[in-house]
């Protein structure tokens, strides 16, 4: 058995264990035997309502969105050749959040099924600014991160303005959602985004070998018969959609897209055919743990998963800033 496969299996086992813990903890603690009874519909005590209505869908949602954000981050870091890049840093998350909030204020909210489309629109708009800058005038990775942060700030300013001027009744839900929370997410949210995200991730996995070819450099990649610009554009679009659609249901889970690819790279190295699946597992694991911890830390109170990912993610970002040499040119 190869090393990446072994690591993948360990992570998968860890993920399943974390999901079971996530089903068990919260305002009402549920013993493992009851969980197994409920999930497999066995005889004995069951907890149908809490598990099937509340904790199971949100745990699955944590898995899907965590995996999507991680994959998005891995692709963006590879294409921009920037270890500091992530969906949040380059403004996709904030752009998607602004678009969703605008739809609430201007159109009185859109049906849940259209929410991913609205978020994707906002994310793509924010990302387009960054990509145009990177394509038209080659800039350093640091500059790109800087402009991305600025785009994010601008979108955040719009978000704040809408939040504080809207009627108080309307804003309480977005306020919880914006901190990156899985609170009160159910099957309908999962149904709205999971099929799309899983398809997108599948396409990304199929294309992952192209990331390795692009890393050889433009000349080599063209020599190997690849249309480099088109491949970059397709992959960046996929990465943007993955992040933006995730934001549409769980809000801004900061730093997951930054941390997961780095942890995966430490585990299995930089070849993307193995890196992407491992990053996916790591991302899912991070969000499931953050969500479960947010419910378990203070019983009866929910701490948004996004708060916990930021508390651990920001120091991680500083660590990267201090230890990684940033490549001089994109």
């Amino acid at each position: 058995m190869t090393r990446p496969l072994r690591i993948g299996l360990v992570l998968l086992t860890g993920l399943i264990a974390a999901m079971l813990v996530s089903l068990a903890v919260g305002a009402v603690a549920i013993p493992l035997s009851v969980i197994v009874n409920t999930l497999l519909d066995l005889d004995g005590p069951q907890q149908d309502f809490i598990i099937n209505r509340s904790r199971l869908p949100r745990t699955l949602l944590a898995v899907v969105t965590g995996a999507s954000l991680a994959m998005s981050g891995a692709i963006i870091q590879a294409l921009l050749r920037n270890p500091l890049a992530s969906p949040k840093i380059i403004g996709i998350n904030s752009g998607a959040a602004l678009a969703v909030l605008l739809s609430v204020v201007l159109a009185g909210g859109v049906p849940l099924g259209f929410l991913p489309a609205v978020a994707a629109l906002g994310g793509v708009a924010a990302a387009a600014i960054i990509y145009i800058l990177a394509e038209v005038r080659p800039v350093s990775p640091a500059r790109l991160a800087l402009v991305g942060i600025a785009v994010g700030f601008t979108a955040d300013a719009g978000v704040d303005f809408i939040l504080v001027t809207a009627d108080t009744y309307d804003i309480s839900a977005p306020l919880v959602w914006l901190t990156g929370s899985l609170w009160s997410r159910g099957w309908s949210h999962l149904g709205a985004v999971a099929p799309l995200l899983i398809c997108l991730m599948g396409v990304c996995l199929l294309l992952s070998y192209r990331l390795d070819i692009i890393r050889l450099g433009s000349a080599q990649a063209t020599g190997l018969g690849m249309h480099v610009r088109r491949a970059r554009l397709v992959l960046l679009t996929l990465a943007t959609l993955l992040a933006a659609v995730s934001v549409s249901v769980v809000g801004v889970l900061g730093f997951v897209g930054l941390m997961a690819p780095h942890i995966a790279r430490l585990l299995v190295g930089g070849a993307h055919r193995t890196l992407l699946p491992v990053a996916l597992l790591v991302g899912a694991l991070l969000v499931v743990i953050a969500d479960a911890a947010g419910r378990a830390l203070v019983p009866g109170i929910e701490i948004s998963a996004g708060i916990l990912t930021a508390i651990f993610g920001a120091p991680f970002f500083v660590f990267l800033l201090l230890t990684r040499e940033i490549e001089a040119r994109s």
Binding site: A150, F153, A157, D160, F161, L163, A310, A314, V318, L321
Partner: protein
């Protein structure tokens, strides 16, 4: 002896005219801010011949708010000017370097933990601001003598994100604070009264004086590390003094009005554009411009979305964030 060159004379006239315009803008902003508000029946005419009702509204509700807006502009503008000077970085400001968020964190800790509560919210905000500033400069390598421009900004954003996450964490635990969450994340002076305004304004004049005293050191830092040291001003000392000044001014502002972003970024740029790069002139210019801009922002916050009032911080961010984007695209020193 040569006579004064024509260029200097012209520059002097431009400068004088700019100063006169600035004072005019402060006056207009103050009058506009005073004559607008929730009670639309108290308007501009009542400023000069108020009846009893108008006098109460003006002196108890509007005057403290108007003065607070002006003082916030002064404090945050000077803090931003000091930070841009000591880091030699055009993107530096209390919000970008995480100092505002650090102050908010100090404040939140004062509310939640009794040990810190004993220290007092104002001092905790200043300490939080100072801690965040020192941390950001340490990440950027500033105390080793060489500040990395990119690490400064990205490090500041990370310090800010961390502080902000912890602030939200404490909100989650304390329902009483959570109700005013918007106030503490955006920056708001809607309900400000005289006691808070006086706490804020007490620091504005000392802040200007301290910045004037430091202005020559700021000029020397602008010459570069070696030149500054050769002329007897260790840049690291300037860095520390400037950080203290910015932390006090930003910390007090945050403790009264919450974190207001981008005022500290935009005002020094406008001042440099109008008055050139000499900090001895920039300090009063920034004070005047900051006051004028925040007075206008306060008036806008009352009329733009009437009858709902938008917090002043939301207006400032709406103007300042695109400005930051423009600067980020154009700024030098990041290649």
């Amino acid at each position: 002896m040569k006579s004064v060159p024509a260029g200097n004379l012209r520059a002097g006239i431009v400068r004088g005219a700019s100063a006169a315009l600035l004072l005019g803008a402060v006056a207009v902003g103050a009058l506009w801010s005073l004559s607008t508000g929730g009670r639309s029946d108290v308007g501009f005419g009542d400023l000069f011949r108020p009846d009893d009702l108008a006098r109460t509204v003006l002196s108890d509700i509007r005057a403290p708010r108007t003065l607070a807006a002006a003082c916030l502009g002064i404090n945050l503008g000077i803090a931003g000017l000091a930070l841009q000077a000591i880091t030699r970085n055009p993107l530096a400001s209390p919000a970008i370097l995480g100092i505002n968020q650090g102050a908010a964190l100090g404040l939140a800790l004062a509310f939640v933990l009794p040990i810190f509560g004993a220290v007092g919210p104002e001092l905790m905000a200043i300490l939080g601001a100072f801690g965040a500033g020192v941390l950001t400069f340490a990440i950027a390598g500033g105390f080793g003598g060489r500040m990395d421009a990119m690490r400064l900004i990205l490090g500041g954003v990370a310090v800010g994100a961390f502080s902000y996450a912890v602030v939200r964490f404490t909100f989650t635990l304390e329902d009483d604070i959570a109700r005013s969450v918007v106030r503490w994340t955006v920056g708001d002076i809607t309900d400000i009264r005289w006691d808070a305004t006086l706490r804020l304004s007490a620091w504005s004049i000392p802040g200007i004086i301290a910045a004037m005293i430091l202005s020559q050191r700021f000029n020397l830092v602008a010459l570069g590390q070696d030149a500054a040291r050769g002329l007897g001003a260790d840049p690291r000392v300037t860095l520390l003094l400037g950080t203290v000044l910015a932390a006090v001014l930003a910390g007090v502002s945050v403790s009264v009005a919450g974190p207001i972003s981008f005022t500290g970024l935009v005002v020094p740029h406008l001042a440099r554009f109008l008055f050139g790069g000499d900090h001895r002139i920039l300090v009063p210019a920034v004070a005047g411009l900051g006051a004028a801009l925040m007075l206008l922002a306060d008036a806008l916050s009352k009329v733009l979305t009437a009858p709902i009032e938008a917090p002043i911080g939301a207006i400032a961010a709406l103007i300042g964030a695109p400005w930051f984007l423009w600067l980020a695209v154009r700024a030098k020193g990041f290649e």
